[in-house]
Amino acid sequence: MIVFENVSKIYEPDVVGLQDFTWHVPKGEFVFLVGPSGSGKTTLIKLVLKELEPTEGRILVAGRNLSTLRRSKVPFLRRNIGCVFQDFKLLPNKTVWENVAYALEVVGEHRRSIRRKVPEIVNLVGLADKANSLPHEISGGEQQRVSVARAFVNHPPLLLADEPTGNIDPETSIGLMQLLLRINRTGTTVVVATHDRDMVNRMRRRVIQLEGGRMVRDEHRGSYDEAPTEVTGAD
């Protein structure tokens, strides 16, 4: 689903975002990206979305080579990638229902199928009674679930989450992670960048640790911290 080959991203003038990063995420996997702030997690996610161009290296997402992907085709790439952000990024003037529907309007979905799909997904994330609320009228956890609903309503093959639990309390976080897990079980590849130690340790999934733009650990069924002896992938 995602292939990085020797990817580097250097920000002007010489800040390292990502350095010589090689990575492969097979279809259907659930991956945690861990590491301190500035270690390159967000850079990585932006590269996958082609919000940023790599300074060097090759990136393939869902079989597309991003360096040869024309700018006009980028929206179509993004339709295959659901996104969840720490700050939710909901349209503030639209209701829960409209926010989720927007992702379908963008794809040119028919009115009738929008009316069918939106309630389905809003139910799935447990917000049926809040469908007509505006984002500022609901809690942070609920907003994040709306954002997950929006990301998943198209049933994209890939879902990226950047610090999805960063702004919500631990108990709500568990619910959110379970939601992401459920989405993963439908065959969607899920990549979660997080600081949330409990979450990572509880889930025991593939963990990739970043530091200063380099991969210092790639471990299956890993935890947030690991003994240095088990570090792989570092040079």
Binding site: S72, P75, K89, L91, N93, V106
Partner: protein
Amino acid sequence: MRTSFFLSEALGSLRRNWVMTMAAILTVFISMSILGVALVTDRNLNQGATSLKNRILIKVYISDNATPEQVTALQQKIESMPQIKKAVYVSKDQALAAFRKMMGSQADEILSALPNNPFPADYDIYVKDSNQVESVAQQFIGNPAVDDTNHLLHPDAHDSVVYAKKTVRRMLGIINLIEKGMWVATTVFGVAAILLISTTVRLSIFARRREIEIMRLVGATNWFIRWPFVLEGFMTGLVGSVLAGASIYAFNWTIFKWIKSSELSYWSVKIYPPWFQSGHWPLGLMPSLALLGAVLGSLGGGFALRRYLKV
């Protein structure tokens, strides 16, 4: 295209950002009003100049001593000249009657002091092109049928051929100057209108850059994001310029009324009817202005987005 979706998006955001909407409409209104007033004034002056030019006439006075043959020859000469649009013969009696009409009760007093009708017969000649007044007038100087004593009556006269050379030249010169000034003003205000509108649009887009970012992340194509903005610009521009058109119409109408009621009507200054069709504005000035406002608004909405749409 999902017209109804884009339309409801545009209307919704116009309503939500109503302060910005008002500001934008006001901006369009003011810019288009200034532009429109400049255009209307220019057209009015043009009309005035044209009607003035059409009124320039050459008076060729016929000597009382001229023989009928000489008068016939003069008439044939006039008829043969292609530059002349029309020539009207005014007899001695008609000239006297015109004098009486002009002077009213004073006429008898003046005329009683004279032994006979002092007014010569003449040809009132209208030329096709006002620039040819002089060259046409020159052709009659020295003609045997033409009286060359009457120049005393007209300080502006060149021998016995009279045409309002200096006055007309001065008037046309002034009108020409004002017209040129108006074109400069029109251009300046046109550019100002475009800048003002695009600044306003850019401001309103800046306020919504987050929204645009989200749309892009969800996979909206640039045109999908752009359409509501273009529609918004279109509606704002249309409302603003229709208001401007209405106020210019009122302005023009007021001036028209004022000219009609004042002595200026002597010049029969014609006011350009702004809603009529004319050569310059095939659709009529007001509809053109409304369309221009709408197009400017749409372009403003579409173009101002560009920097936020870079992937």
